[in-house]
Amino acid sequence: MNLIFGHRRIAGLLAVVPANERSFVDEMANFNFPPARSLKLKQVMGYDKHRIVDGPVCASDLVCFGMEHLFASGMLGRDDFDALIVVTQSPDYLMPPTSSVIQGRLGLKQDMFCLDINQGCAGFLIGLYQAFSLLEQPAVRQVVLINVDVLSRKTSSRDRNSYPLIGDAASIAIVERSEDGTPIHANLKMDGTRREVLMIPAGGLRLPSSPETAVLGDDGENNFRAKDNLRMDGTAVFNFVQVEVPPMIRDLLHTAQADMKDVDYFLFHQPNRFMLQKLADQMKVPYEKMPSNIVEHYGNSSGVTIPMAIVHNLRERLLAGSIHACLAGFGVGLTWSSMLMRLGPLDFCEMVNYK
């Protein structure tokens, strides 16, 4: 599905990461693998440090911390926005929506559109599409788009497939109308037949959590996880990304009548360094135009990784000017989506530590 928008911009970006930093080397003893084998994987995948919440910290805790920071620093007024979109796979509750939790905790006005979206690694783009659409309404002046996940709490620390790469984080993007009418081209595909490639099997109504679903079991590859934990079929995910993403980007550029060399940066979701470098090789994109350094510094925080890649790598450049950016997200659902847009100049572009 091709999408097109105009007169929209991202005005500011804030990333929130837990101050608690853990290292792969320190956690290796949890995994049922010889250290030499784990160290080799560290080198290839880019595992080093990741930020994970310390204790029972929830999605709304990270977000409220970030929003209060924006209010206190004058980067956002408490009444400046009329819609609050929260994209998460790790909500505070099954009900009510986490957006309502955040609205209530922050004491925001009632004249507000609050919306939760259950999405993951493509969630920044999915959220932007919703934000762009909400701005069709004259009553909506600005949209606060939040991506947040605390999936370390749903991941087994004895699962080397998933735990080393997981990161917790939130991002807050301010989305508003723009004078610039340059078309924003996007495309989107979803395939629910592959929904079990990335899933948490228990905890919903299909399989409620119970003492049985909390029991750790060997997956046959020496990874121990329970049905309450995140399960990722690494081979299927890798294959999905390598097969679907390059043609998606080619289609996007074709639709936009743009060329690969016209793009300043390919700001993609950050699953791990190996997967991104293989994508870059396949697409013949220089590594410096496709950052792949978020997992090694913070971990993979699902829908937050694109904002993280922007804030970590391009802060100064985007405060001063703009770039022609190709964004792409791909993951749970399965869902894959890409967007070509002018990004910047931003009113703010910052990262803060949640303590």
Binding site: R37, L41, V44, T235, N239, Q242, F274, K278, D281, Q282
Partner: protein
């Protein structure tokens, strides 16, 4: 240049890779070992194995890895 068998031995020294025809099926290589193997082959042979070729069928045994390398003008 190390041989395929030597590269495999470095990743999983406990196995005799010359004696198996099904590395994945016999549990000698898991999905992350394949990632490590690809990285080592890329470096040893000066190539970049396409992500599209990183599927278990191409890493079943030494012969299938040789066939893969031939595609890149190696082995």
């Amino acid at each position: 240049m190390p041989t395929i068998a030597e590269i495999l031995k470095e990743i999983r020294p406990e196995f005799d890779f010359t004696a198996s025809q099904d590395f994945v099926g016999e549990g000698m290589l898991d999905s992350y070992d394949i990632v490590t193997l690809v990285s080592d082959l890329d470096r040893a042979y000066g190539i970049s194995i396409s992500g599209l070729d990183i599927v278990p069928e191409n890493f079943q045994n030494i012969a299938s890895i040789q066939t893969l390398l031939q595609k890149y003008g190696k082995a």
